[in-house]
Amino acid sequence: MAAAAIQARLPQSAEDVQQVVSEAAAHGRRIEVVGGGTKRAVGGAPADLTLSLAGLDKVVDYQPDELVLTAQAGARLADIERLLAGNGQMLAFEPPRWTGLLGASGEPTLGGSLAANLSGPRRIRAGAARDHFLGFQAVSGRGEVFKAGGKVVKNVTGYDLMKLMAGSWGTLAVLTEVTVKVLPAPRDETTVLLFGLSDAQAVAAMAQAMNGPFEVSGAAHLPPPAAARPPLAAEMAVTALRLEGFEASVAARAEALAAALKPHGRFERLDPAHSREFWGQVREVEAFVPDPRPLWRLSLPPASGWKAVEALPGEALYDWAGGLAWLLTEAEPAQVWVAARAFGGHALKVRGPGPAFEPLAGPLADLSARVKAAFDPLHVLNPGRMAAA
C-alpha cells in the first residue's frame, strides 16, 4: 500500500510506519509524529505530513506479577492507567496530561509520554518516565524497524536506547511498541500542608522532609499569587508534602513528619481524596492554565531553583521539592535560558510562541547532532523539536 493510503487509514503496524517514513525520506519530506496530538504546541515546526500512531492503540501484553506491560505506542494513557488500576498497579512516574495547559483536545498516549519523558510529582521518589522504560520497537528516520531493551524489569543487554528515546520528542525514531515497568499503587495517601512560607523557607522545609525517613512522594510549593488562583484559592503560600503507602506506614510517617516540621508553623492534613485532587492539580499545573503568558518549565538543582526564578520576571510555582519551577513570564527565551544555566539547570518553553528547546553549545551540541544523524540523518522526523534537530 502506498504511504498516502496508509496515512489515510492510520498505520496499523510497524511496517506501515516504516513505509510512510521511507517514502517521506525518499522524497525529502518532513514528518510530524503524533500520538494523541496533545503536545503539538511544544516547539514543533511546519512539517510536510503528519504521521498519527492513533491506530496502534492496543495493549500487547500485561503481566501484573512480572511488573511489566507492553503496549503499542499509540495506546491511550487513560486506558493503560484504568487497566493497571484494576490490578492495583500504576505507572509510578505519574505522567501528566498537559491537555488543559496546552488547550489540546486529544488523548495523551503512552508512547507520547515516553517520547517526551513526561513525569509527575512522584518523580522525586519513583523516578521519571525514562526510569520505567524497559524496551521498544521503533522505526528510525532511516526507515528501519528496530528494537532495543527487553520485556523484563532488569536488563543491561546492549546500549540503553530507551534513555535516548525518552525525551527525544520523536526526533530519532517513531516508537511503535513500548514496554514499561509498572508498580503496585499505594493503598493510602495523605498530604501535609504548610502555610505562609517564603520560597527560600519552603525549599528548606521540603529539603528537611526529603532528607528524613518520611519517604515523601510529592513536594510542591505555591507562592502567594499562584496559591491565590483557582482551584486552590488560598490566602497565603502553600507548601505541600505527600506521603503514600500502606495505611499504618502513612499514618506513622505523617505523624513523624508533622512533628519534624513544627518549627515551620501551622499545618493541615488532607485526606486521601483531597490529596489525590491536590496532586492532580499540581501535576497539570492547573493554577497557570488560564493565564495567557508564555509558560516555562525550569529543571534545576532543588535547593537553588528558586534563585533562578528570583532572577527572572513573572510568577512561579514549584514541584519536585524545588527542582521543577513552572514560570509564567514574558522574558526573552535567551534570558530564561541564561538564568537557568547560571543556577545549574535548563529550561523548556512549554507554551508560547517562538523556540521551545534550549540550544546546546560546544562539543555537547556536536555530539548530540551526531546522535541525531545516527538515527535520522536526513532530518525527516519532527522538525523544530530538540535543540540538536
Binding site: Q18, S22, A26, P64, D65, L67, I124, A128, R130, D131, S140, R142, G143, E144, F146, G150, V152, V153, K154, N155, V156, T157, G158, Y159, D160, L161, M162, K163, L164, G167, S168, L172, N211, G212, P213, E215, G245, F246, A248, S249, A252, S299, P302, A303, G305, W320, G345, H346, L348, F357, E358, L360, P363, L364, L367, V371, A373, A374, F375, M386
Partner: protein, 495 residues
C-alpha cells in the same frame, strides 16, 4: 571467545607509545614492564587473560583528555578500567591496546545534602560513597556484591545493580550527572544536580555502555536518607516452585521488598558451609526477603510476608530481630560466589534475566543440561526481578572443561532469551556474551546500537572487541537502509 587480531605494527611501537604517555603522565603513572603489567591482565572474569601493551594511570581530566586525544591521533586502542571487578570481561586488555586505569581518581569532591547528591571521582568505590555520607544518615542505594572494591566509574560503565535494585533501581536510576571525555579528547558534562538535562539523555545511554562511548572522569550520584528500619526474613521451602510462587504472591500483594533473593539447595549448602549464616541446608529453596521503611510498615509487612510464605508451605521461617542478625542473614548470600568457589576449583557465573513465572521451567531445564554436560550448577537468583545467577562448577585444569562450561552457559542464556528474557541483567555483555547478542538482536537492531557507538567514537578505538559480535566500520553502518531489495533513495547525499 576470540578478540580482534592484534596489530603487530602497533605492538612494535610500544616504546614510542610509552614515551608519549609518559610525557602526559609523568613519574609512575605509566606501567610498561612485563611483570608490572600482570595484575592488569584480567578482570573478574579470570578465565580470559591478556597482557596489555601498557597501562596508564592518569590523575586529572586534562590528562585523560590528552591521552585519548593522542591515542586517537595515533590509532591506539584504549581499554578503560576501574577496579577490574567486571564479571563479563569488560576490562579485558588488548595486546595492542593501552589500559586506562582510573584508580587514582579516588576523591569525594562534594557532598550536597540540600540537593541530596554527592559529586565523586570515578575511582571512588561504591561503598566509599556510602561511607562518606552514612554518618549523616544517608547512603548510596545500588549495592553490587563487589561494592567494597568496585568503583563508581565502573558501575556507570556497567549500569551495576545489586540485591536492592528491585526497589531502588540500578545505577542508571541513581545518577544525576557526569563529566565524560570522548575518544577525541573532548570533555562534555552530562546532566548536573537537577533532575533533567537539556537535549538527548546522553547520560542515560552512556550508563551501561561498557566503556565503549567515553571515559567518565566525574560522577554526580543521588544519595538517599537511610530507611528508619530494615528487617530480613529467611524462608525455607521444600520446593523451588513453592518459593517462586511465594515471590509472585508478595508482588501481587503490592509489596516491593528492598531485597528479594532466592538460593537453590547447592547454593544454600555452599553458603552455609562457608559462613554459617544459619541457613536450612535441607531446604530445596531459600528466600531472603528484606523489608525497609518505618517501624510500623516493617512490622505489618513482615507479618504479611510470613503468612504468604506459610500458605505456600514454607517450613523454615526466621525474622531478624537485630541489625547484626539481619546482616548475618545476608552474609551467606553476599558470600555465595566465594562460597561456591570453595566447593569447585572454578565457577562460571551467568547473569540472564527471565520472566519470573518461567523460573520452574528454566531451573528444571538447567538441571537437565547439568546432567548432560556432567557439570554441577548452583543457583542464586535476584528473585524479585527475575535475574538468575547460575554458577557453573568446573575445573579449568581438566582439558576441555572451560569450553564445556562456556557451552553450558551459552545454552542457559539462549534459554533465557527463548522464554522471553535477556542475556544479562546486571553484569554486562563484555566479551563473555558478545557472541550471543545475535540471539536477542537482529542485524538492524545491532546496527542502530553501533551507530550510537560511531557518534561517540567513529574510529572504534575505545574498548573494541566488547559487546558487539562484529566490528563494522562506521562508514559502512552509515549507509541507508535497503528496503525490499533496493536502496530506498539512492540519489541522496551520504554524509
Amino acid at each position: 571467545m576470540r578478540m580482534p587480531a592484534p596489530d603487530a605494527a602497533l605492538i612494535a611501537r610500544k616504546a614510542e607509545i610509552v614515551r608519549a604517555l609518559r610525557r602526559i603522565v609523568p613519574g609512575e603513572g605509566v606501567v610498561s614492564e612485563p611483570e608490572a603489567l600482570v595484575p592488569f591482565e584480567s578482570d573478574g572474569l579470570s578465565a580470559y587473560r591478556q597482557t596489555p601493551l601498557a597501562v596508564v594511570l592518569p590523575e586529572t581530566t586534562q590528562q585523560v583528555s590528552e591521552i585519548l586525544k593522542w591515542c586517537s591521533a595515533e590509532g591506539v586502542k584504549v581499554v578503560p578500567r576501574g577496579a577490574g571487578t567486571s564479571l563479563s570481561g569488560g576490562a579485558l586488555p588488548l595486546a595492542d591496546g593501552v589500559v586506562l586505569g582510573m584508580a587514582k581518581f579516588n576523591r569525594i569532591l562534594e557532598v550536597d545534602y540540600a540537593n541530596r547528591c554527592a559529586v565523586v571521582q570515578p575511582g571512588v568505590t561504591n561503598l566509599g560513597v556510602t561511607h562518606a555520607v552514612e554518618a549523616d544518615g544517608f547512603y548510596y542505594a545500588p549495592d553490587p556484591s563487589s561494592q567494597i572494591a568496585c568503583t563508581i566509574g565502573g558501575n556507570v560503565a556497567e549500569n551495576s545493580g545489586g540485591v536492592h535494585c528491585l526497589k531502588y533501581g540500578l545505577t542508571t536510576n541513581n545518577l544525576l550527572g557526569c563529566e565524560l571525555v570522548l575518544m577525541n579528547g573532548e570533555v562534555v558534562r552530562l546532566g548536573g544536580k537537577g533532575f533533567d538535562a537539556a537535549g538527548y539523555d546522553l547520560l542515560g545511554v552512556v550508563t551501561g555502555s561498557e566503556g565503549l562511548l567515553g571515559v567518565v572522569t566525574e560522577v554526580t550520584v543521588r544519595i538517599l536518607p537511610k530507611p528508619e528500619t530494615a528487617k530480613a526474613l529467611l524462608l525455607g521451602f521444600p520446593s523451588v516452585e513453592a518459593a517462586g510462587a511465594t515471590v509472585g504472591d508478595i508482588i501481587a500483594a503490592g509489596i516491593i521488598p528492598a531485597g528479594l533473593e532466592m538460593m537453590d539447595n547447592p547454593a544454600i549448602r555452599a553458603a552455609e558451609a562457608f559462613v554459617g549464616a544459619g541457613y536450612p541446608v535441607d531446604a530445596a529453596a531459600l528466600l531472603i526477603v528484606e523489608l525497609d521503611g518505618p517501624e510500623a510498615e516493617c512490622a505489618e509487612l513482615t507479618g504479611h510476608v510470613r503468612a504468604l510464605a506459610s500458605a505456600r508451605g514454607a517450613d523454615f521461617v526466621r525474622v531478624s530481630h537485630s541489625e547484626a542478625e539481619r546482616l548475618a542473614f545476608w552474609a551467606g548470600r553476599k558470600a555465595a560466589f566465594p562460597a561456591v568457589g570453595r566447593i569447585a576449583p572454578d565457577y562460571y557465573c551467568m547473569d540472564g534475566t527471565i520472566p519470573r513465572g518461567k523460573l520452574p521451567q528454566v531451573l528444571s531445564a538447567m538441571s537437565e543440561m547439568a546432567r548432560s554436560y556432567g557439570l554441577g550448577v548452583a543457583n542464586v537468583f535476584h528473585a524479585g526481578d527475575g535475574n538468575l545467577h547460575p554458577l557453573i562448577l568446573y575445573d579449568a585444569d581438566k582439558p576441555g572443561e572451560l569450553e564445556k562450561a562456556e557451552a553450558f552457559g551459552a545454552e542457559i542464556l539462549k534459554l533465557c532469551v527463548a522464554v522471553g528474557g535477556v542475556l544479562t541483567g546486571e553484569h554486562g555483555v563484555g566479551v563473555e556474551k558478545r557472541d550471543l547478542m545475535g540471539t536477542m538482536f537482529d542485524p538492524t537492531d545491532l546496527a542502530c546500537q553501533q551507530r550510537v557507538k560511531c557518534a561517540f567514537d567513529p574510529a572504534l578505538l575505545l574498548n573494541p572487541g566488547k559487546v558487539f559480535p562484529t566490528l563494522h566500520r562506521c562508514a559502512e553502518l552509515g549507509r541507508m537502509h535497503v528496503h525490499r531489495g533496493k536502496l530506498a533513495f539512492p540519489d541522496l547525499p551520504r554524509f
